[in-house]
Protein backbone atom coordinates (compact mmCIF):
# COMPACT_ATOMS: atom_id res chain seq x y z
CA UNK A 1 0.00 0.00 0.00
CA UNK A 2 1.53 3.31 -1.13
CA UNK A 3 0.36 5.65 1.61
CA UNK A 4 1.84 8.71 -0.08
CA UNK A 5 -0.15 8.05 -3.23
CA UNK A 6 -3.25 7.39 -1.17
CA UNK A 7 -2.89 10.74 0.55
CA UNK A 8 -2.38 12.50 -2.78
CA UNK A 9 -5.58 11.04 -4.26
CA UNK A 10 -7.43 11.81 -1.04
CA UNK A 11 -6.37 15.46 -1.08
CA UNK A 12 -7.10 15.77 -4.79
CA UNK A 13 -10.60 14.35 -4.44
CA UNK A 14 -11.35 16.54 -1.42
CA UNK A 15 -10.08 19.58 -3.31
CA UNK A 16 -12.72 18.91 -5.95
CA UNK A 17 -15.60 17.73 -3.78
CA UNK A 18 -15.29 19.49 -0.42
CA UNK A 19 -18.43 21.41 0.65
CA UNK A 20 -16.36 24.61 0.90
CA UNK A 21 -16.25 24.59 -2.91
CA UNK A 22 -20.03 24.56 -3.16
CA UNK A 23 -21.04 27.41 -0.88
CA UNK A 24 -22.58 29.39 -3.72
CA UNK A 25 -24.12 26.40 -5.47
CA UNK A 26 -27.62 24.91 -5.28
CA UNK A 27 -28.79 22.92 -2.25
CA UNK A 28 -28.76 19.75 -4.30
CA UNK A 29 -25.12 20.26 -5.19
CA UNK A 30 -24.28 21.10 -1.58
CA UNK A 31 -25.90 17.89 -0.32
CA UNK A 32 -24.16 15.86 -2.94
CA UNK A 33 -20.80 17.37 -2.07
CA UNK A 34 -21.31 16.78 1.66
CA UNK A 35 -22.16 13.11 1.05
CA UNK A 36 -19.28 12.49 -1.29
CA UNK A 37 -16.82 14.32 0.91
CA UNK A 38 -17.86 12.29 3.97
CA UNK A 39 -17.51 9.09 1.98
CA UNK A 40 -14.01 10.05 0.88
CA UNK A 41 -13.04 10.77 4.50
CA UNK A 42 -14.34 7.37 5.54
CA UNK A 43 -12.54 5.63 2.70
CA UNK A 44 -9.29 7.38 3.56
CA UNK A 45 -9.59 6.47 7.26
CA UNK A 46 -10.38 2.85 6.40
CA UNK A 47 -7.46 2.48 4.03
CA UNK A 48 -4.89 4.32 6.15
CA UNK A 49 -5.03 2.01 9.17
CA UNK A 50 -3.87 -1.58 8.60
CA UNK A 51 -6.48 -3.02 10.97
CA UNK A 52 -9.48 -1.29 9.39
CA UNK A 53 -8.06 -2.04 5.93
CA UNK A 54 -7.83 -5.75 6.79
CA UNK A 55 -11.38 -5.78 8.16
CA UNK A 56 -12.60 -3.99 5.04
CA UNK A 57 -10.86 -6.51 2.78
CA UNK A 58 -12.69 -9.29 4.59
CA UNK A 59 -15.96 -7.40 4.14
CA UNK A 60 -15.32 -7.31 0.40
CA UNK A 61 -15.37 -11.09 0.53
CA UNK A 62 -18.64 -11.09 2.42
CA UNK A 63 -17.15 -11.73 5.88
CA UNK A 64 -18.11 -8.88 8.14
CA UNK A 65 -17.79 -7.96 11.79
CA UNK A 66 -21.34 -7.31 12.91
CA UNK A 67 -22.23 -4.73 15.51
CA UNK A 68 -24.05 -7.50 17.36
CA UNK A 69 -21.04 -9.83 17.53
CA UNK A 70 -19.76 -10.66 20.97
CA UNK A 71 -16.49 -12.29 21.88
CA UNK A 72 -17.16 -14.91 24.50
CA UNK A 73 -13.75 -16.60 24.49
CA UNK A 74 -13.23 -16.28 28.24
CA UNK A 75 -9.60 -17.39 28.14
CA UNK A 76 -8.69 -14.72 25.63
CA UNK A 77 -10.74 -12.02 27.33
CA UNK A 78 -9.09 -12.81 30.67
CA UNK A 79 -5.72 -12.11 29.11
CA UNK A 80 -6.98 -8.80 27.69
CA UNK A 81 -8.57 -7.81 30.99
CA UNK A 82 -5.39 -8.66 32.85
CA UNK A 83 -3.25 -6.58 30.45
CA UNK A 84 -5.64 -3.63 30.82
CA UNK A 85 -5.53 -3.85 34.60
CA UNK A 86 -1.76 -4.05 34.67
CA UNK A 87 -1.49 -0.96 32.48
CA UNK A 88 -4.01 0.87 34.66
CA UNK A 89 -2.24 0.05 37.93
CA UNK A 90 1.32 0.34 36.67
CA UNK A 91 3.51 2.91 38.42
CA UNK A 92 6.83 1.77 37.03
CA UNK A 93 8.12 2.50 33.53
CA UNK A 94 10.15 -0.72 33.54
CA UNK A 95 6.96 -2.72 34.04
CA UNK A 96 5.36 -0.84 31.16
CA UNK A 97 8.20 -2.07 28.95
CA UNK A 98 7.49 -5.66 30.01
CA UNK A 99 3.80 -5.31 29.20
CA UNK A 100 4.67 -3.75 25.87
CA UNK A 101 6.91 -6.70 25.01
CA UNK A 102 4.04 -9.10 25.70
CA UNK A 103 1.68 -7.09 23.51
CA UNK A 104 4.34 -6.91 20.81
CA UNK A 105 4.49 -10.71 20.69
CA UNK A 106 0.77 -10.75 19.98
CA UNK A 107 1.10 -8.11 17.31
CA UNK A 108 3.65 -10.33 15.58
CA UNK A 109 1.12 -13.17 15.66
CA UNK A 110 -1.42 -10.76 14.15
CA UNK A 111 1.05 -9.94 11.40
CA UNK A 112 1.41 -13.65 10.65
CA UNK A 113 -2.37 -13.92 10.37
CA UNK A 114 -2.43 -10.95 7.99
CA UNK A 115 0.33 -12.50 5.88
CA UNK A 116 -1.71 -15.70 5.57
CA UNK A 117 -4.69 -13.60 4.58
CA UNK A 118 -2.61 -12.18 1.75
CA UNK A 119 -2.09 -15.67 0.29
CA UNK A 120 -5.77 -16.47 0.63
CA UNK A 121 -6.73 -13.26 -1.13
CA UNK A 122 -4.49 -14.23 -4.03
CA UNK A 123 -6.42 -17.50 -4.28
CA UNK A 124 -9.71 -15.58 -4.18
CA UNK A 125 -8.46 -13.52 -7.12
CA UNK A 126 -7.35 -16.64 -9.02
CA UNK A 127 -10.79 -18.14 -8.43
CA UNK A 128 -12.45 -15.09 -9.96
CA UNK A 129 -10.20 -15.22 -13.01
CA UNK A 130 -10.68 -18.94 -13.40
CA UNK A 131 -14.43 -18.55 -13.26
CA UNK A 132 -14.29 -16.00 -16.05
CA UNK A 133 -12.08 -18.23 -18.20
CA UNK A 134 -14.39 -21.24 -17.96
CA UNK A 135 -17.45 -21.41 -20.18
CA UNK A 136 -20.58 -20.66 -18.15
CA UNK A 137 -22.20 -24.01 -18.99
CA UNK A 138 -19.15 -26.19 -18.31
CA UNK A 139 -20.73 -27.56 -15.15
Amino acid sequence: MDLRKLKQSFLQLQAELHPDKFIKKSQKEKDYSAQQSALINEAYETLTHPLSRGIYMLELEGISLEERDVTADVGFLSVILDLNERVLNCEDVKLLDEIEDEVQDNLLAARDAMVKMRYFFNIVESLKEKRLSLPANSS
Binding site: L65, E66, E67, R68, D69, V70, T71, A72, D73, V74, F76, L77, S78, I80, L81, N84, E85, L88
Partner: protein, 131 residues
Amino acid sequence: MVIDHYENPRNVGSLNKSDENVGTGLVGAPACGDVMKLQIKVDDNGKIVDARFKTFGCGSAIASSSLATEWIKGKSIDDAKKIRNSDIAKELSLPPVKLHCSMLAEDAIRAAIKDYKVKKESKSSEAVAAN
Protein backbone atom coordinates in the same frame (compact mmCIF):
# COMPACT_ATOMS: atom_id res chain seq x y z
CA MET B 1 -28.51 11.33 36.73
CA VAL B 2 -27.84 9.71 33.37
CA ILE B 3 -24.74 11.81 32.73
CA ASP B 4 -23.60 10.76 36.18
CA HIS B 5 -23.08 7.18 35.02
CA TYR B 6 -20.47 8.58 32.66
CA GLU B 7 -18.76 10.82 35.20
CA ASN B 8 -19.19 8.77 38.37
CA PRO B 9 -19.65 5.14 37.39
CA ARG B 10 -21.15 3.04 40.22
CA ASN B 11 -20.04 -0.38 41.44
CA VAL B 12 -16.59 -0.38 39.86
CA GLY B 13 -14.50 -3.24 41.18
CA SER B 14 -14.41 -6.99 41.65
CA LEU B 15 -16.10 -9.67 43.71
CA ASN B 16 -14.34 -12.85 44.78
CA LYS B 17 -14.39 -14.97 41.65
CA SER B 18 -14.05 -18.25 43.55
CA ASP B 19 -16.99 -17.52 45.89
CA GLU B 20 -19.68 -20.06 45.00
CA ASN B 21 -22.35 -17.35 45.21
CA VAL B 22 -20.57 -15.14 42.70
CA GLY B 23 -21.14 -15.37 38.96
CA THR B 24 -18.70 -13.74 36.55
CA GLY B 25 -19.50 -12.64 33.03
CA LEU B 26 -16.70 -11.68 30.69
CA VAL B 27 -17.56 -10.38 27.22
CA GLY B 28 -15.91 -8.36 24.49
CA ALA B 29 -16.96 -6.48 21.38
CA PRO B 30 -14.96 -7.39 18.27
CA ALA B 31 -16.17 -4.22 16.56
CA CYS B 32 -14.26 -1.98 18.97
CA GLY B 33 -12.12 -4.20 21.21
CA ASP B 34 -13.90 -3.17 24.41
CA VAL B 35 -13.87 -5.71 27.21
CA MET B 36 -16.39 -5.90 30.06
CA LYS B 37 -16.36 -7.96 33.25
CA LEU B 38 -19.59 -8.02 35.25
CA GLN B 39 -20.02 -9.96 38.48
CA ILE B 40 -23.08 -10.74 40.56
CA LYS B 41 -23.42 -12.04 44.08
CA VAL B 42 -26.60 -14.06 44.58
CA ASP B 43 -28.22 -15.02 47.90
CA ASP B 44 -29.93 -18.36 48.63
CA ASN B 45 -33.29 -17.03 47.39
CA GLY B 46 -31.88 -16.26 43.95
CA LYS B 47 -31.72 -12.53 44.59
CA ILE B 48 -28.81 -10.47 43.35
CA VAL B 49 -27.44 -8.76 46.45
CA ASP B 50 -24.35 -7.18 44.92
CA ALA B 51 -22.93 -6.40 41.50
CA ARG B 52 -19.59 -5.08 40.31
CA PHE B 53 -18.01 -4.35 36.97
CA LYS B 54 -14.75 -3.54 35.31
CA THR B 55 -14.91 -2.21 31.78
CA PHE B 56 -12.05 -1.18 29.56
CA GLY B 57 -13.55 0.75 26.71
CA CYS B 58 -15.33 3.92 25.74
CA GLY B 59 -17.46 6.10 28.04
CA SER B 60 -20.68 4.57 26.73
CA ALA B 61 -19.51 1.04 27.54
CA ILE B 62 -18.58 2.14 31.07
CA ALA B 63 -21.89 3.96 31.57
CA SER B 64 -23.83 0.95 30.21
CA SER B 65 -22.17 -1.42 32.65
CA SER B 66 -22.56 1.03 35.54
CA LEU B 67 -26.28 1.34 34.84
CA ALA B 68 -26.60 -2.44 34.38
CA THR B 69 -25.10 -3.14 37.82
CA GLU B 70 -27.41 -0.56 39.41
CA TRP B 71 -30.46 -2.08 37.78
CA ILE B 72 -29.75 -5.71 38.63
CA LYS B 73 -28.95 -5.13 42.29
CA GLY B 74 -31.95 -6.26 44.34
CA LYS B 75 -33.54 -8.12 41.43
CA SER B 76 -34.01 -11.87 41.16
CA ILE B 77 -31.79 -13.49 38.55
CA ASP B 78 -34.90 -14.19 36.45
CA ASP B 79 -35.87 -10.51 36.45
CA ALA B 80 -32.28 -9.46 35.75
CA LYS B 81 -32.32 -11.64 32.64
CA LYS B 82 -35.23 -9.59 31.32
CA ILE B 83 -33.17 -6.41 31.05
CA ARG B 84 -32.78 -5.55 27.38
CA ASN B 85 -30.02 -3.58 25.76
CA SER B 86 -32.69 -1.29 24.31
CA ASP B 87 -33.70 -0.28 27.87
CA ILE B 88 -30.10 0.60 28.69
CA ALA B 89 -29.60 2.46 25.40
CA LYS B 90 -32.80 4.43 25.97
CA GLU B 91 -31.96 5.38 29.55
CA LEU B 92 -28.49 6.59 28.54
CA SER B 93 -29.68 8.12 25.21
CA LEU B 94 -26.96 6.21 23.38
CA PRO B 95 -26.47 7.21 19.74
CA PRO B 96 -26.85 4.43 17.12
CA VAL B 97 -23.07 3.96 16.77
CA LYS B 98 -22.88 3.17 20.50
CA LEU B 99 -25.70 0.62 20.61
CA HIS B 100 -23.20 -2.22 20.79
CA CYS B 101 -22.08 -0.90 24.19
CA SER B 102 -25.53 -1.58 25.63
CA MET B 103 -25.59 -4.98 23.90
CA LEU B 104 -22.32 -5.78 25.58
CA ALA B 105 -23.86 -4.93 28.98
CA GLU B 106 -26.87 -7.16 28.32
CA ASP B 107 -24.59 -10.01 27.27
CA ALA B 108 -22.42 -9.48 30.34
CA ILE B 109 -25.46 -9.81 32.66
CA ARG B 110 -26.47 -13.04 30.91
CA ALA B 111 -22.94 -14.43 31.00
CA ALA B 112 -22.67 -13.69 34.74
CA ILE B 113 -26.01 -15.42 35.45
CA LYS B 114 -24.98 -18.40 33.34
CA ASP B 115 -21.66 -18.68 35.16
CA TYR B 116 -23.46 -18.55 38.52
CA LYS B 117 -25.91 -21.28 37.46
CA VAL B 118 -23.18 -23.53 36.09
CA LYS B 119 -21.30 -23.14 39.38
CA LYS B 120 -24.40 -23.98 41.42
CA GLU B 121 -25.23 -27.00 39.29
CA SER B 122 -21.74 -28.45 39.46
CA LYS B 123 -21.83 -27.84 43.22
CA SER B 124 -25.11 -29.72 43.63
CA SER B 125 -23.99 -32.60 41.39
CA GLU B 126 -20.86 -32.81 43.53
CA ALA B 127 -23.09 -33.06 46.58
CA VAL B 128 -25.11 -35.83 44.91
CA ALA B 129 -21.93 -37.67 43.96
CA ALA B 130 -20.71 -37.40 47.54
CA ASN B 131 -23.91 -38.99 48.78
